[in-house]
């Protein structure tokens, strides 16, 4: 099912009652979530991700704006009438009920003409349990299971009524690194198998990048950019998005543009055709460095970390913002610092320029 958000805004009265200012948790959201896609809602802590999700499922009512499921205006519809499945950050499994009873819970709430017989319920429970591969664990209590298993029970409970929309709030944040990898694949698989439109909230960019069809990046309640993961990574619209996506983080230098050339200090690092003169940030992806003894960018060599497939070169430069430059190069390549100095040239498609004041992308012709 397609979800359309129109000028969606949510303001909260400030928790600190002495302060009059309202908190704008979600500010003027306008976008469409296409049918059958897995959408990652990405942003740092406190940026309003959960609020956005709660607005879609109906646990919160928007201050302004509208929400449509396909053509149906659901803005004023109670959550139970929207037919969504919700998975909470802490799963919210009923601890006193077995897995079976937990998954059956939503089915038992069906009344009137939708009422199901015991047998049908049992069948649906089994079906959902099989989908998330926990059909062996049906008679356990939630506290007798690992985090990843509980997570799957929570998904099964959200799926058992076959909702048209599945919403997941930081579903993986309680899992250890290995389980997180495994479970996110699992979520992707379940989503592909069922084809349910899924919105999933995370503050982990890697997680969002790896499984989302579409990523929505937000900051302080404001939508920054929406698009395919690779698109956002390659063509970030502003410095925040550029810095938020990708590990290791993008390397940001202070620089300027003169005569359609981008400078870091005295070094001309790339062409900037069509860009006006002015101060800029030059942001370079770690994989955008080429070790080159004739390269324009001279840096002080600090260290080299070999990580099997590739090597991290740690270096510093007076125009660099932050701790250390981190460049990733294939491990076959030699790094020979000359008098403690290593020189780089840059891959132009891995370098992005941002206006120094508004921090927005400066487009160049190539």
């Amino acid at each position: 099912m397609k979800i359309v958000l129109e000028h969606l805004t949510k303001r909260f009265p400030n928790r600190n009652k002495k302060i009059k200012d309202e908190v704008i948790a979600v500010s003027d959201f306008n976008f469409t979530i296409p049918d059958g896609k897995l959408v990652g809602l990405l942003g740092p802590s406190g940026c309003g991700k959960s609020t956005a999700l709660n607005l879609i499922c109906g646990l919160e009512k928007p201050t302004e704006g509208k929400i449509y499921f396909e053509d149906l205006d659901v803005t004023d519809l109670e959550p139970e009438k929207r037919g969504v499945g919700l998975v909470f950050q802490n799963y919210a499994l009923y601890p006193h009920l077995t897995v079976r009873e937990n998954i059956r819970f939503p089915l038992e709430n069906l009344r009137g003409e939708n009422k199901l017989t015991r047998e049908v319920m049992e069948e649906k429970v089994l079906e959902a349990a099989r989908l998330v591969q926990i059909d062996e664990l049906l008679d356990r209590k939630p506290n007798e299971m690992s985090g990843g298993q509980q997570q799957r029970v929570a998904i099964a409970r959200a799926l058992v009524k076959m909702p048209k929309v599945l919403l997941l709030d930081e579903p993986l944040s309680n899992l250890d690194a290995r389980l997180r990898l495994q479970t996110r694949e699992e979520i992707k698989r379940i989503q592909t198998e069922t084809g349910i439109t899924t919105v999933f909230v995370t503050h982990d960019q890697e997680e969002a990048m790896s499984i989302s069809d579409i990523i929505v990046v937000m900051k302080d309640g404001v939508l920054q950019q929406m698009g395919k993961p690779q698109e956002i990574y390659d063509e970030p619209i502003n410095l925040f998005v550029a810095k938020f996506l990708g590990t290791p983080q993008i390397n940001v230098f202070e620089g300027y543009i003169r005569d359609e050339k981008a400078y870091i200090g005295d070094a001309v690092v790339m062409d900037a055709k069509g860009a006006g003169d002015g101060d800029v940030y030059v942001a370079v992806r770690p994989e955008g460095f080429i070790v080159d003894e004739n390269g324009p960018l001279a840096c002080n060599f600090i260290n080299r970390e070999v990580m099997g497939r590739d090597t991290s070169v740690i270096a510093s430069n007076e125009h660099f913002l932050g701790e250390n430059i981190r460049a990733i190069i294939p491990s076959e390549e030699e790094v020979v610092p000359v008098e403690g100095c290593v020189r780089f040239s840059l891959k132009p498609h891995k370098v992005r320029l941002f206006d120094k004041i508004i921090e927005e992308r400066i487009r160049t012709e190539s």
Binding site: E78, P79, E80, V84, N90, L97, R111
Partner: protein, 296 residues
């Protein structure tokens, strides 16, 4: 080993107190209850046997006290817990004035039993000058007044239960409101998204989540009600046997110090019978709870 010794040394004062003031009297009561014709003054007795129990169990006053106690327990424990649960649920639903209501409901708890008794007297007692507020109300609606303090048994029992419930309720409300507040709201959100009807939310989520507290209140409620005495005195005065409103503890007291007192052996036997009853009921409670109470 050395650590152990220090621990025991530290515990010693507490253990000594327990021995002197708890264990020794308990053993003593046990011994008394089997000594026939024990005399306080001469500290002598005729023999050892079950005579004291036989006497107590055939004493009409004890039978009356036993009956009264059981009626009070059976009526007040479920009713007070149920009403307290209802009020707590309502309290946790309202947002405005919640603190105010919580204070109001807690007031009886910090009020002296006798003061509450006095208020009940004014409400229920018939005097030469006034029929009491409740009777005036009954008569206003065309009913026939009844003397709740000196009148028929059922009327007295009604006031007694009413009073007991009134006294124990604040504590239960306090415990239950905090138990309700400690239930994680995400469960209610999950239930809401799943379109769970309110009754089912209560029965399937709220009640299991607060069941340890409810169970605690039921157990302490049973024990407290079986030990009822001061509330009866507050309403009906010290001569409870004459009023027909005595309780087991009251009977024990009367046997020791009352007008007909001076029989520690009978008192001990009655006390041990009470102990046996409370012990049995508590054991049954614990057994039932193992099946129904959920501990997270």
């Amino acid at each position: 080993m050395k650590k152990n010794l220090t621990a025991w040394l530290c515990l010693l004062p507490a253990l000594a107190f327990l021995l002197v003031f708890m264990v020794y009297p308990l053993v003593d009561v046990f011994v008394y209850s089997f000594e026939e014709g024990y005399n306080f003054a001469s500290q002598s007795y005729f023999g050892v046997g079950l005579y004291n129990y036989d006497y107590v169990l055939h004493d009409p006053y004890f039978i009356q006290a036993l009956k009264n106690t059981f009626i009070i327990v059976i009526i007040t424990v479920p009713l007070s817990t149920g009403i307290a649960l209802f009020i707590s649920l309502e309290l946790s639903n309202i947002k405005a004035l919640r603190d105010f209501f919580q204070t109001v409901y807690f007031l009886p708890y910090v009020t002296n039993t006798l003061a509450v008794g006095l208020v009940f007297m004014i409400l229920f007692k018939k005097t030469p000058y006034s029929d009491g507020l409740v009777n005036i109300l009954i008569q206003l609606f065309g009913g026939k007044g009844v003397d709740f303090i000196d009148g028929p048994y059922w009327a007295k029992m009604f006031v007694m239960c009413f009073y007991t419930i009134w006294i124990v309720m604040p504590f239960k409300i306090l415990i239950l409101t905090s138990a309700l507040a400690s239930v994680n709201p995400m469960y209610y959100k999950a239930a809401k998204v799943d379109d769970t009807p309110p009754f089912r939310v209560f029965y399937k989520i709220t009640l299991p989540m607060i069941s340890p507290m409810v169970f605690y209140l039921v157990i302490t409620g049973f024990i407290g009600a079986f030990k009822a005495y001061s509330d009866e005195v507050a309403l009906f005065g010290t001569d409870l046997n004459a009023a027909g409103m005595n309780t087991i503890v009251g009977y024990v007291y009367d046997m020791l110090y009352g007008n007909s007192g001076g029989y520690p052996s009978y008192a001990s036997a009655a006390a041990l019978i009470l102990f046996a009853i409370v012990f049995t009921i508590t054991t049954i409670n614990l057994m039932v709870s193992r099946k129904t109470v959920f501990y997270s």
